[in-house]
């Protein structure tokens, strides 16, 4: 689980991560990195402590969140799609409209699966910080 609050004017994001996987950030130059270093899964331990962290989305940068079904999607030979391929897909579609990025990721996963249904539920969310905000 990943929870973040973003200041649309500054791009500052305060976030907390619980469990896995980490979200991805694609900077304006197309470099993709994972954000966060994990955390206890929600609901397993009543005494677990969660910490919030800070991150700044640059103008033109975007945040991509995928549930574990994405990197755990397997091809017919049971090879997982994995984190690196996911990063590559996000980088490859770096110039695609943010709103279309989830669809592209789903298409890549379907191709990897050779059309077979995913074994887990899938969520993909992409957020982009536009380069010219009204408040700038």
């Amino acid at each position: 689980m990943f929870c973040g609050a973003i200041d649309r004017a500054t791009g500052h994001m305060s976030y907390c991560q619980a469990g896995y996987p980490s979200p991805y950030y694609a900077d304006p130059d197309g470099r993709v990195q994972e954000i966060g270093d994990g955390g206890f899964p929600v609901g397993l331990f009543s005494e677990a402590e969660f910490q919030s962290h800070d991150f700044v989305l640059e103008k033109g940068g975007r945040l991509v969140l995928c549930s574990d079904a994405a990197c755990e999607a397997e091809d017919p030979m049971r090879n997982q799609f994995g984190v690196q391929r996911l990063r590559n897909v996000i980088a490859t579609f770096g110039r695609t409209e943010t709103a279309e990025l989830p669809g592209e990721i789903v298409r890549e996963l379907n191709a990897w699966r050779s059309g077979a249904l995913l074994e887990d539920d899938l969520t993909v969310v992409a957020l982009g910080r536009i380069k010219h905000h009204d408040s700038d």
Binding site: Y20, E72, E119, D120
Partner: protein
């Protein structure tokens, strides 16, 4: 599904008996290990040597086993492959479980805690 081995009168090695501990079979695994605990085994080593893939459901069941044992015994894990070790790390499970490179190391550690 599970295979067990007693290395010491009070230590039981549990092998999940599957290469994939996932939502598909995690509940069966949990039921079998809970039954083992109900029959008196309380110092367990879960050996992941033959497990190549663990998903969030599988991880949840391993935590459930830890809670089931509670204060009556101990649970440690061993032989985690790189992916499973990484999953334990990102979910901070390496702060909850003692992780060993082999069943021998795990059993020795439990023996030393008697």
């Amino acid at each position: 599904m599970i295979q067990t081995e007693t290395q010491d009168p009070w230590i039981t090695i549990v092998r999940p008996g599957t290469a994939r501990l996932t939502a598909v079979n995690a509940k069966d695994f949990k039921t079998e290990v809970f039954d083992l605990i109900d029959r008196g085994s309380a110092r367990l080593v879960i050996d992941f040597e033959e497990v190549s893939f663990l998903d969030s459901s599988g991880l949840g069941v391993v935590v459930g086993i830890l809670k089931k044992i509670g204060i009556r015994g101990e649970l440690v894990v061993c032989n985690l492959n790189a992916d499973i070790k990484q999953m334990f790390a990102i979910c901070h499970m390496d702060r909850v479980f003692s992780i060993f490179p082999s069943t021998r190391d795990a059993a020795q550690s439990l023996s030393a805690r008697v």
